[in-house]
């Protein structure tokens, strides 16, 4: 049985939703970061899935793009973790609800 593109999209959507829910519902800042990472990868998956629907010569673009995204995501994770560590040093807490400096 051929793998239907729609299944891939459904999977991507599920992963994205899980990532989003994790990011929004967990208080631990590391979980939030993981959730964002998950959502990002879901997008990658979606890219590849759509690329598969195209003829072979054009689908290359869709498959290369996630590679870039992975590189960018790595950089983003780097910066994100560095920030988290700095905040942790200042605040002694990984609870994102404690980060409320911006409020009035």
């Amino acid at each position: 049985m051929e793998l239907q593109p729609i299944y891939i999209q459904i999977l991507a959507l599920v992963i994205f939703t899980i990532g989003l829910i994790v990011a929004l519902s967990r208080r631990n800042i590391f979980f939030v970061l993981m959730g964002i990472e998950l959502a990002l990868n879901a997008v990658n998956l979606s890219f590849v899935g759509f690329a598969k629907t195209l003829p072979a010569d054009m689908s290359v673009a869709g498959q290369i793009f996630p590679l870039f995204l992975i590189a960018v995501a790595a950089a983003e994770a780097c910066v994100g973790l560095a920030l988290v560590i700095l905040i942790f040093r200042n605040r002694e807490s990984v609870d994102s609800d404690n980060y409320s400096n911006m409020k009035g």
Partner: protein
């Protein structure tokens, strides 16, 4: 000889200013300061060179004068003015005595300012003053004259406040500058007023005269008269400021706070007469509006009388001379008001000699008494300082118009012209004569209180009294000679009219226009007799009242200012000025404490409203980052939904 360029005259004092100013600034750090001999020599050298240039030019001057345009100054659509010089009969006379007396007084100052901390600075200012004064009288346009006009005012400010560690001097200086500024605005607006009539081109004297001629030739004087009248009045306001006439005269007595040579040079001989110079320079314009001339005449008369009476009440020797200067300036304005411009300039000329001599003499007296200015602590000085006393007495005879002395010729000429030329001539003549009597009284009082009788100061100070050094005496003696003989340049009753002929090309036409055909022929001798009688009467009164009266000893602390009703008379115009000052202060108070506070209140209200609203909105900022993130995602979703449903915003 005549191919000397004109700009060389102001050039040297300017060089002197820059050089001396540089020396003053550079040496200000050092304790000792530069050598006084060197600085003194420099500071006399530059005015003297100028004087020599003026003399050389004066003798080779053609009848119609020398004109010279140096370069363009301002060139914009509505205003085109050149920097140009005009050397004619009028500026020749003015320049000769400005540079001449300026050089003498610079020489005198070397002795007077000896050992002062600001020795170099003083001479830098003096040179700057001479530069401005030369520009004032040498320029060929009103705007350049205005440069000199404000320049001399500035120097006057700097020199009055020369001893600036004492705030009273600074206040006197500020007063002089601000009162003069009021007059200067009149001058400025007068120029604008003229410019509306004929464009900025007629700010040039020559063009102005041509314009006036055109008006007369075309018979359009009536058309232009209203504007000319406003312009004339505005210029006269400028003159009242600079020449200390009613109502802007309060600054001159206070200006005596400066060093005495400054009072002699600036506040007696030269700067204060620039108002008279301006009237003579613009005589062609002024004679078109006889109403303005009448105003000048009345103001001059009131000033002369008021200041002469005020002079009677003063105890400070320099204040007496200051009020006397104001009174004499009143004479000059009366003459100008009677369209006898040449007589007024002649009085400027003779007055420069005798008043400078009087001031320098007073300076020598103050110098010898170590700074004492109150006449009630003087007396009997003729024995201690005979040369000074002689100089003062000669100048005294000149100022009261004793026959043969300089003042006799010029003052009698003015009185005679008042009688013949002015409307209600008899009235003004008698007012002038009365003032002449008072002049003799207060000057006689000054001489008697200073030089005759017993010395009334403390015993210790009596031993230190000494005659001034030679560098001070020489200029005084030269000026005293001037005070005796300067009048013979125009001895009407002896038939010598040299001075009148010099000025004729400048003011002659104006005067003949004003008088028309009706020239009274009067016997000059009669007037001379009346004048002499007035002088003698004044002297006798002075002798009777002050010569024999015992002047009470006064304590050391008592101030020299007049008190009681005398003070009311003296400070009458100060009280009037006080009203304006109070109004300004009240306006400033309202601006600061009312208007500004209201604006601040509005500002504060707006600010607090914004703050309150901000506080309200910030409660939306829930504490948890996660919730905010959720909300923002929902917002994105809503936006996407809207875009999808409406097909785009744009």
């Amino acid at each position: 000889m005549t191919n000397l360029p004109l700009w060389i005259i102001p050039l040297f004092p300017l060089l002197g200013t820059i050089l001396l100013g540089a020396i003053a600034v550079i040496s200000s750090g050092s304790k000792k300061g530069p050598s006084e001999g060197f600085v003194g020599a420099l500071s006399v050298l530059f005015p003297v060179i100028s004087f020599v240039c003026v003399v050389l030019l004066a003798f080779g001057m053609p009848e119609e004068g020398i004109r010279e345009t140096l370069c363009n100054w301002i060139d914009i659509p509505m205003l085109k003015v050149d920097i140009g010089f005009l050397f004619d009969g009028l500026s020749r006379v003015m320049l000769l005595f400005v540079t001449g007396i300026g050089s003498l007084i610079a020489l005198y100052s070397i002795g007077y300012m000896h050992g002062d901390r600001g020795f170099t600075r003083f001479f830098a200012y003096i040179n700057l003053f001479l530069f401005s004064m030369i520009v004032l009288v040498l320029s060929d346009s009103l705007l350049l004259t205005f440069l000199g006009w404000e320049g001399v005012g500035l120097c006057s400010y700097l020199l009055i406040g020369f001893w600036n560690h004492d705030l009273n001097n600074c206040k006197a200086a500020n007063k002089a500058f601000i009162v003069n500024r009021v007059g200067d605005i009149g001058f400025l607006l007068g120029m604008l007023c003229l410019a509306t009539l004929g464009g900025s081109a007629i700010l040039n004297y020559e063009a102005l005269n041509k314009f006036v001629e055109m008006l007369i030739a075309g018979g359009h004087v009536e058309l232009a008269a209203p504007i000319l009248m406003i312009a004339g009045l505005l210029f006269f306001v400028g003159c009242t400021g600079k020449s200390a006439q009613i109502p802007l005269l309060t600054w001159l007595p206070d200006a005596m706070a400066g060093p005495t040579p400054v009072s002699a040079l600036i506040h007696a001989a030269t700067m204060v007469t620039s108002g008279v110079y301006l009237l003579a320079r613009l005589s062609r314009m002024f004679v078109l509006v006889p109403e303005v001339l009448l105003v000048i005449l009345i103001v001059g008369m009131l000033t002369a009388f008021w200041a002469a009476v005020a002079g009677l009440f003063q105890n400070d020797i320099k204040k007496v001379l200051a009020y006397s200067t104001i009174s004499q300036l009143g004479y000059m304005f009366m003459a100008a008001g009677a369209s006898a411009f040449d007589a007024s300039i002649f009085h400027v000329f003779t007055h420069a000699f005798f008043k400078a001599a009087l001031f320098l003499g007073a300076g020598a007296v103050i110098h010898s008494l170590a700074g004492e200015q109150d006449m009630r602590r003087m007396g009997g000085l003729i024995k201690k300082t005979p040369v000074t006393a002689c100089v003062m007495i000669f100048a005294f005879l000149a100022i009261i118009g004793f026959p043969g002395f300089a003042g006799f010729w010029s003052k009698d000429l003015i009185l005679e012209r008042l009688y013949t030329n002015a409307p209600f001539g008899e009235f003004f003549y008698f007012a002038g004569l009365l003032t002449a009597v008072i002049t003799a009284v207060y000057m006689g009082r000054l001489i008697i209180m200073t030089f005759f009788g017993e010395y009334r100061g403390s015993k210790e100070s009596e031993e230190h009294i000494h005659e001034a050094p030679a560098s001070m005496l020489v200029p005084m003696v030269i000026l005293a000679f001037g005070a005796v003989f300067a009048g013979y340049l125009w001895a009407d009753s002896m038939g010598i009219k040299f001075f009148a002929n010099t000025l004729a090309p400048v003011v002659g036409e104006a005067q003949s226009y004003s008088l028309g055909a009706a020239i009274h022929h009067v016997n000059a001798l009669t007037f001379a007799c009346f004048g002499t009688a007035a002088a003698l009467l004044g002297m006798i009164i002075a002798y009777v009242v002050y010569g024999r009266a015992r002047i009470p000893q006064i304590s050391a602390k008592e101030s020299s200012a007049p008190v009681g009703s005398k003070a009311d008379w003296t400070f009458f115009f100060d009280y009037i000025h006080e009203i304006f000052i109070t109004i300004t202060k009240a306006a400033a108070f309202i601006a600061d404490m009312v208007v500004d506070k209201i604006l601040q209140a509005i500002q504060w209200t707006v600010g607090s409203i914004a703050e309150i609203v901000g506080d309200g909105v910030s409660t939306f900022q829930v504490r948890k980052v996660r919730v905010q993130l959720t909300l923002s995602l929902l917002g994105v979703a809503a936006l996407v939904a809207v875009v999808l449903l409406t097909g785009g915003l744009f």
